[in-house]
Each structure stands twice: as structure tokens, then as C-alpha cells.
């Protein structure tokens, strides 16, 4: 009888863990924004609240184990996004180098560079939200939460997600604008400095000073 009760309880807890993991995965994938998935702050809030409710039924050891699994779940996605971001950074650097040897910047290439820049900024926003959500989730699961703290964390994450939605909207606008824009030398220069293809004015000046000293040119 006791044995059966233990098995029943054990099975129930396993189900809770499984459910929390599924909810965490769904939450993680909401940020992915692929296909027809859309980011919905209400859904994020709901999912976080459910997780906070469920986690209170688990023991310390179970919570710790679950927190590690959630951490891995998010880390997997974060690593992929970081890889894509790095790859786009290498691509934009290469294209900026190419444009630095052009007298007249081709509109198509300029647009491509701006698109890559938008994509990189989008990855930055996605990474920021994923990292924040992961921290909130891991914290919630590991330590267990009382309803007030849980709610505060939900509010905190909602703010992060809202900021992300705003960033997305800004990028969508920027994307439409840049398609109609001509080539802007200033915008290009800013990008060259941002991605380290061109040295910022101050660094270039110091470098020049060194060269002048090296070749004995008087100031």
C-alpha cells in the first residue's frame, strides 16, 4: 500500500517535471519567431505563472535538477543564435571591407549591409530576451517562489519581452525605410566603426602619431 502510494506520488512528480520542461521549451520557442509563431506577452506571462505554480510542488533536489535541465534547454538555443550572430558579423565585416575599396557604393550592396546589420541587432535582442527569461526561470525553479515574488518576476519578464517587441517593430520600420533610402556615406562609416573595419577617429589619430614618430615626421 505504502509502496503503491510512493509510486503514485513519484509518477505524479515526474509528470509535473515533464510539464514544466514542456512549458519552458514552449516559452523558449516563442522567442524564436519562426513560421507563423508570434510573440505574445500575455502567453509568456501565463506560461511563467504556470511554471511558478507547478514548481512549488517539488522538492529542493527535484527543483535543482529541473533548473539545470531548463538551463541546458535555453543554452542550446542561445548557442545556436550566437553562432548565427557571429557568422553574420564576419559576413558584414567582409562586405564592409569590400565597400571600402569602392569609389561608388552600389545600392544593392549597401542595402545588403544594412539588412545584415538589422539581422545582427535582431539576434542581439533575441539573445537578450532568452538570457533574461532563462535567468528568471532558473531562479524561480531553483529557489521556489512565493506568489508575490513569482508575480514580480513575471512582471519583470513581461517588461523584457515588451522591450523586445518594441525593438522588433523598430527594426521592421528601419528595414522598410532602408529599402527606399539611397546610399548614405555616414551610415556606412558608422557601420564600419561599429564592426571594427574602420578604426574610430581617436584610434586612427593615435596610430598616425605613432607612424609620424616612427618615420621621424615632425608635427
Amino acid at each position: 500500500m505504502l509502496m503503491q502510494g510512493c509510486l503514485f506520488l513519484f509518477g505524479k512528480k515526474k509528470n509535473v517535471e515533464k510539464r514544466i520542461l514542456e512549458e519552458a521549451k514552449a516559452l523558449r520557442d516563442l522567442i524564436e519567431l519562426t513560421g507563423d509563431r508570434q510573440l505574445n506577452t500575455q502567453a509568456v506571462r501565463e506560461a511563467l505563472r504556470k511554471i511558478a505554480d507547478n514548481v512549488s510542488k517539488l522538492s529542493d533536489i527535484e527543483r535543482d535538477r529541473l533548473a539545470r535541465k531548463v538551463d541546458e534547454l535555453f543554452e542550446e538555443k542561445i548557442a545556436i543564435l550566437r553562432g548565427w550572430r557571429e557568422s553574420n558579423i564576419r559576413k558584414i565585416k567582409s562586405m564592409l571591407k569590400e565597400l571600402r575599396l569602392s569609389k561608388k557604393i552600389p545600392q544593392v550592396k549597401f542595402n545588403r549591409v544594412r539588412m545584415l546589420d538589422s539581422q545582427i541587432k535582431l539576434y542581439d535582442a533575441q539573445l537578450m530576451v532568452l538570457e533574461n527569461l532563462r535567468d528568471i526561470l532558473v531562479d524561480t525553479i531553483q529557489r521556489g517562489v512565493d506568489p508575490v515574488t513569482a508575480w514580480n518576476r513575471v512582471m519583470r519578464s513581461s517588461t523584457v519581452v515588451s522591450e523586445f517587441v518594441e525593438t522588433l517593430a523598430e527594426h521592421a520600420e528601419a528595414y522598410e525605410e532602408l529599402m527606399g533610402e539611397g546610399v548614405s556615406e555616414e551610415a556606412l562609416e558608422a557601420l564600419e566603426e561599429e564592426y571594427g573595419v574602420k578604426e574610430p577617429e581617436e584610434v586612427a589619430r593615435k596610430e598616425l602619431k605613432k607612424l609620424m614618430e616612427k618615420y621621424g615626421v615632425e608635427e
Partner: protein, 186 residues
């Protein structure tokens, strides 16, 4: 090692090569990030009949993907004829890898031009247009040479190196412009 394991090992190595080339080719700023078609490979298609025809010239990364697909297709063939196609595909792979090594070599030279451009921009921005004309003519020549016949690179390399030397000399002998000196003083 079993046949199956050897095959998996080879395919895994090919995937690694493709990933490596994908990563480095992004940095070939002077070569459309590796998108310029330079090499012909044969594509194996196994349907009712077997076809193994040369494709038009394609970028190195695409060529590697064709080779990968050929090795996948080869498994479907009768072991008696498999070896012949495998050998021919391996020959193509060898040529593609050779072509990649030439592009990597050319990239090293092109990078020198980029460094010289940055120097000119610092010390004498007014000479930049003249430098860009000079540099572009060499870059264009490397691009055309590789696109026309990538395997001619070893015989033409010396010539290209000489041209690049001239470009670098132009940058090195450029006097520091008064305006640049003033900016440093400020």
C-alpha cells in the same frame, strides 16, 4: 573499421570540410564572399538510369556540396560499378580542394591591399582615390584569373605578387599629408 563506419567517417570529414570552407569563404571580401563560380564538377544522378555529367562552373562551396551528394548517391549503386564513380568523384574533390587552396593563397595577397588602403586613409586621404584605382585593377585581375582558370594560379602568382608589390610601394612611399599632421597635433 567496418565499411559502414569508414563511410560515415568519410562523410563526417566532408561535412567538416564544407563547414570550414563556409566559414573562411565569408571572409573573401574581394571575391564576393566565395560566390564566384570557378570550378566544374560532375554530378551523379541515380534514377532509372545513371547520369554523371559535368555541371557548369560553380562556387567552391556549391561544388563541395555536389561532391557530398555524389557520395550519398554512390551508396545506391551496385558495388561492381560503385568504385568507378567513387574514384571519379574523389578526383573532383581533390581538384576542388586544390582550387580552394589557391583562393586562400590569393586572399592572403588581397589582405595586404586592404592593409595598405587603411594606411593611405590615415596618412593621405587625398590620395585614396588614386590608390583605390590602382588596387582595384589588381583585385580585378586576381578575380578574373581565378574565374577564368583557377589552376593557372601557380604560374601567374609571381606576376600578381609583383603588381601587388607596386600597390604596396605606392602606399609606403606616400608622404604624410599636412592636413593629417594638423589633425594629430589638434
Amino acid at each position: 573499421m567496418s565499411v559502414e563506419k569508414s563511410y560515415e567517417y568519410m562523410m563526417d570529414s566532408l561535412r567538416r570540410i564544407i563547414e570550414f570552407v563556409r566559414e573562411i569563404s565569408v571572409e573573401w571580401w574581394w571575391f564576393e564572399q566565395g560566390k564566384i563560380p570557378i570550378i566544374r564538377v560532375r554530378k551523379l544522378e541515380v534514377n532509372k538510369n545513371i547520369s554523371f555529367e559535368y555541371l557548369p562552373k560553380r562556387p567552391v562551396l556549391d561544388a563541395l556540396r555536389v561532391i557530398y551528394s555524389n557520395f550519398e548517391q554512390i551508396r545506391k549503386l551496385d558495388p561492381k560499378i560503385r568504385v568507378d564513380y567513387a574514384l571519379k568523384t574523389a578526383q573532383d574533390l581533390y581538384l576542388v580542394l586544390q582550387a580552394i587552396s589557391y583562393v586562400i593563397d590569393a586572399h592572403g595577397l588581397a589582405e595586404k591591399i586592404h592593409e595598405a588602403r587603411e594606411r593611405i586613409a590615415k596618412i593621405n586621404p587625398e590620395a585614396l582615390d588614386e590608390f583605390i584605382d590602382l588596387a582595384n585593377s589588381v583585385i580585378q585581375r586576381i578575380r578574373e584569373l581565378l574565374a577564368l582558370n583557377v589552376f593557372s594560379w601557380p604560374s601567374k602568382r609571381k606576376e600578381i605578387e609583383e603588381e601587388i608589390k607596386k600597390v604596396l610601394e605606392f602606399a609606403e612611399t606616400m608622404p604624410i599629408q599636412e592636413k593629417a599632421k594638423e589633425e594629430v597635433s589638434a
